[in-house]
């Protein structure tokens, strides 16, 4: 597929994406491991529409995080092409970084700063003036309900508070696309619900959300569309309702399939075989 090009802001070449916030074509990542070349991602094609919450699911080691890391400029692309808001990830990584927010698997925070210091510093690094950065930090602390803990060092935050602060840090510059890699892994149910609420609120303001998760209930609740990756390739893509309907059509009459059934069908796993990997799934 060829993409038409047009000059964008600051001379950055932007492609006509017909509403695509993220697009990947034949995305491949190979690593040189001790036992030869590891093919972590083997030709991923996907398109995320502007304004949607897109779920990216897959078993452990399927290539979810590697794909996200390539899309967020953190990992080089072996071959293929990726664009975020029409900007080529490999050619203009800094321009992509200006447009995206990133919260990776672990809540990556500096434990020796206070929540406020961290957000102010991120504002400054994104080019805000001192006053503007402080104001933005205050807004975000209110958004993620961390005003009371704002001046405590992050080391003392609970897992849920760290996740919320991580989200806030990813939102400092009002990104167009927010990449979240397993944002609720390890959180208790109450904290998970709080993060879901934040995500809905953020998406409601127009931010496109690219979400990887192992919790199918989470995908069912939050995602407009989703893709399932297995063995480095996309094996299913569509809305949760479409994917369930497709499975039902193929299986004939029977109980209404859940997203768990779709996932197990797509990845060729049975409940018994996949128990170790998807045991949290309850949808």
């Amino acid at each position: 597929m060829r993409l038409a090009s047009s000059p964008g802001p600051k001379g950055i070449e932007q492609n006509e994406m017909s509403g695509a916030a993220v697009r990947a074509e034949g995305l491949v990542k190979h690593y040189d491991g001790r036992e030869g070349t590891v093919e972590a991602v083997r030709g991923v094609d996907l398109e995320v529409h502007a304004g949607e919450v897109f779920g990216f699911l897959g078993p452990n080691g399927a290539g979810k995080s590697t794909t996200v890391r390539m899309l967020t400029t953190l990992l080089s692309i072996t071959s293929g092409r990726a664009e975020v808001v029409g900007i080529d990830v490999a050619r203009n990584p800094d321009e992509v970084r200006r447009r995206i927010g990133v919260a990776l698997q672990e809540a990556g925070l500096d434990p020796r700063q206070t929540g406020r210091e961290l957000l102010v510093m991120h504002g400054r690094l994104f080019g805000f003036g001192a006053v503007e950065a402080k104001e933005r930090a205050q807004q975000l602390l209110a958004l993620v309900e961390l005003e009371d803990a704002a001046d405590r060092v992050i080391k003392g935050y609970s897992g849920g508070m760290q996740r919320r602060l991580d989200l806030a840090a990813a939102l400092v510059h009002e990104p167009e696309v927010l990449f979240l890699d397993e944002p609720t892994t390890g959180l208790d149910p109450a904290s998970r619900l709080t993060v879901w609420e934040e995500l809905r609120r953020i998406n409601g303001r127009g931010t496109t959300v690219f979400l990887t998760t192992q919790y199918l209930e989470e995908a069912d609740q939050l995602c407009d569309r989703l893709a399932i990756i297995d063995g480095g390739r996309i094996v299913r893509e569509g809305t949760p309702a479409q994917l369930k309907a497709d499975l039902r059509a193929r299986n004939g009459h029977g109980p209404e399939p859940t997203l768990d059934d779709v996932f197990l069908d797509a990845t060729g796993r049975t409940r018994e075989r996949g128990a170790g990997e998807v045991q949290e799934v309850t949808a």
Binding site: R69, T72, T73, L74, L75, S76, D94, E95, R97, R98, I100, V102, L104, Q105, E106, A107, G108, L109, D110, P111, R112, Q113, E117, M121, H122, R124, L125, F126, V153, D166, A169
Partner: protein, 251 residues
Amino acid sequence: MSATIELGRRALREAIRQPDALLMTMFIPLFFLVVNTGQAAKIFPSGSTEFLEGQGYGAFQLPITLLLAASFGMAALFLVEEIEGGYFDKLRAIPIPRYAIVLGRLVAEGAKGVVLATVIVLLALPFGISIASGPLGFVLLVALTALWGVVYSGFIQLIALKSRSAAAVNSGGLIFFPLLFLTPNFVPRELLTEPMEVAATVNPVTYLMEALRSLILDDLDWGKILPGFGVVAAMGVVMLVLNVRMIERYD
């Protein structure tokens, strides 16, 4: 540059919030100063030992204390902690020059080095150690110590970026001990045995130590001071180039 300064300020805040680490950075080198001086002061009495230039043996040992303190930087350990914890990637996803992430920490190491060197010298003064080269010599002494701290921290940061492992960083920090002891650390170079003298002559830390020692014991002797700054400048350029290259290629 503003990103480097911003990240440097953050690293300084970090250091201030770890006073125990700062205290240990001071305690171990001062411990060596007391022990080494206590063991050898009678062998080298100030009145009859020419190379002491009228000062006590503690003055001769002070450069080792300064170099040790400057070499106990925490920059690489904090960096590897961020790599393991994921904050390093968060910073890499911000549109700042990637070198700012490593240079910010080195700027903070430099500032810390100035404070540490000043405090150690001030603590040494009441014990009869003086800076014979005067106020300018004191400034040069502090600057050279701090610059060495930056250079050495930069090399350990390379281990952090390459290995991404705290264990490797801790082991890498031990490299300094052979370098420190292959110097004229107890007596001047000309009094060393021949193999040790050869080893000391090819060891760049020797010239640094001799520059610091000269600033403490002599008037401004540029013949000894400049090689020290030359070593730090040359190693600093190599360290900077390697750090920038490694973080730009970090995948």
